[in-house]
């Protein structure tokens, strides 16, 4: 007698791609706005990005219902933090909180692939990349989601430290200027859109720097 199998899954993958790049005094966080299920498009205009605090922006691809629940939990936790400490959470603090929140559901995970971007205590850009259960690392750039396999090698080529043999291989913040970084990100998505069916429609870009938060949009291929 074969083992009983579930005839439904609590998860769905709504596709999409997220990217973040850290600069010396800025951080760029971007994600496409397409939401899919299987071979269908549910909407062309869904934001995967949320600003959790003054200097922390979260972009998440995966199962958007879990993403939304995760965003709400983090927002509530942040409010409590503000009441207790009379200040906003820093990006590194938010990074740890996100990791703990994800691991809390280690045995029924949030199906969310997260990239957290922001400014650290010194005002430098920082990017944290996660897996679904909270393992995280600070990096200079990252990509998650359906197009990540197409984007990450390209970012490695453009941004990675050229000689990892000489120094410990740590991704430093890129020396690129803010506008160069934005162009790079736009290029990433234009390429990913060509070959990944789940990425496209529109690109939402958030730029965090000393003067605050700025939002930009770019059209992507809709096929």
């Amino acid at each position: 007698m074969t083992k009983q199998q579930a005839n439904w899954s609590p998860y769905d993958n709504n596709g999409g791609t997220c990217v973040a790049v850290a600069g010396t005094d800025y951080c760029v966080i971007a994600a496409d706005t397409r939401m899919s299920s299987g071979y269908n498009i549910l909407t062309r205009d869904y934001s995967k990005i949320i600003q959790l605090a003054d200097k922390s922006v979260l972009a998440s691809s995966g199962f958007q219902a879990d993403v939304r629940a995760l965003q709400k939990v983090l927002a509530a936790k942040h409010l409590q933090y503000q009441h207790q400490h009379n200040k906003q959470m820093s990006c590194p603090a938010m990074a740890q909180l996100l990791s703990n929140t994800l691991y809390y559901k280690r045995f029924f995970p949030y199906y969310a692939f997260n990239v957290l971007g922001g400014l650290d205590h010194e005002g430098k850009g920082c990017v944290f990349t996660y897996d679904a259960v909270g393992s995280y690392e600070r990096v200079g750039y990252s990509s998650q989601g359906s197009g990540s396999t197409l984007i990450t090698p390209f970012l490695d080529n453009q941004l990675k430290s050229p000689s990892p043999l000489l120094l410990p291989a740590r991704d430093a913040v890129t020396p690129l200027s803010e506008s160069e970084a934005i162009d790079l990100v736009k290029t990433c998505f234009a390429s990913a859109t060509e070959r990944d069916i789940y990425t496209g429609d529109k690109l939402e870009i958030l730029v965090l720097n000393a003067s605050g938060l700025r939002r930009e949009y770019m059209e992507l291929r809709k096929d």
């Binding site: 939990v73 509530a76 409010l79 009441h83």
Partner: protein, 293 residues
């Protein structure tokens, strides 16, 4: 109130049908330093006296932000007030998580009142020894509530609690009819005047008081010391008479322009100038030597 054989337990009734422990808890509120609340159609102002127990210590926090649209001023056992504020904050956060909309003030005060009532009906508990003036905004407008240790709550146009609050209440009773249509500035001004009443002649400066405002388009926040001092100076409140009838506004040296139209155009009842001396410890005593803090 005399000590008697029915006041040991909160769950013991007196033959006259009173719960003495609850009444004693309300006494604790009267011992705390004054807190005042006023509201108009669009704003709520909370003000309180913030005196330190010694020059060496810092001020006790008496006004708490509960959410963007609700704040609370307390009088009595500050520790109890802190704990209740934490409860209120969590309730607002949880409500927003579930409904993605702000918790209406009226709902929050009922929850708070029910929580207080529990402590009046358990032998292993004691009533909260703090009175809360809850000011907030919701879809139905601006509201001010007073929550008692007894578990009762009432809505007010204006109210004062704590020590020497009667002086403030008398001032508010005279003026409250004008509050509904008051401007934000006049509301704050009236709060400062009411606060001054409780100081019984002591000089009103921003180091003795805390003011907080919430209104339509304005999240709840505590005004910083500089702003408060500027307002006190602008309204010449420190040692002056209340602005019941002041045609002679120009003789106040250095008054900023906005103050004059405020006093002329404010919704003041045209009472006689001597109507307000029942509450003045030192009428017209500008620059009187301030008491040591």
């Amino acid at each position: 109130m005399f000590r008697n054989q029915y006041d040991t337990d909160v769950t013991t009734w007196s033959p006259a049908g009173r719960l003495f422990q609850v009444e004693y808890a309300m006494e604790a509120v009267k011992q705390g330093s004054a807190a005042i609340g006023l509201r108009s159609k669009s704003h709520v102002v909370l003000a309180c006296v913030n005196k330190t127990s010694s020059e060496l210590s810092s001020h006790q926090k008496k006004i708490f932000k509960v959410d963007d649209h609700i704040g609370v001023a307390i009088a009595g056992l500050t520790a109890d007030g802190r704990v209740l504020s934490r409860y209120m904050r969590n309730e607002c956060i949880n409500y927003f998580y579930t409904y993605e909309s702000q918790l209406p003030v009226g709902r929050l005060v009922v929850q708070l009142a029910d929580k207080a009532q529990v402590c009046t009906q358990r032998s292993w508990k004691r009533p909260y020894g703090v009175g809360l003036l809850v000011g907030g905004l919701d879809e139905s407008g601006a509201h001010l509530y007073y929550n008692c240790p007894s578990g009762n709550y009432f809505e007010y146009q204006a109210f004062a609690i704590g020590s020497r609050s009667q002086a403030a209440k008398t001032y508010l009773e005279r003026k409250f009819e004008s509050f509904m249509d008051s401007s934000r500035e006049n509301l704050i001004k009236d709060a400062l005047f009411a606060l001054r009443e409780t100081l019984q002649g002591e000089k009103l400066t921003s180091s003795v008081c805390t003011i907080a405002v919430v209104g339509i388009g304005e999240a709840f926040h505590i005004l910083d010391q500089e702003t408060v001092q500027e307002l006190i100076n602008e309204f010449e409140i420190a040692g002056e008479e209340a602005p019941v009838a002041e045609p002679a506004a120009p003789d106040q040296a250095g008054v900023a322009e906005p103050a004059a139209p405020d006093q002329a155009g404010g919704a003041e009842p045209a009472a006689a100038a001597d109507a307000d001396d029942d509450n003045q410890a030192a009428p017209g005593d500008q620059g009187a030597a301030p008491m040591d803090m």
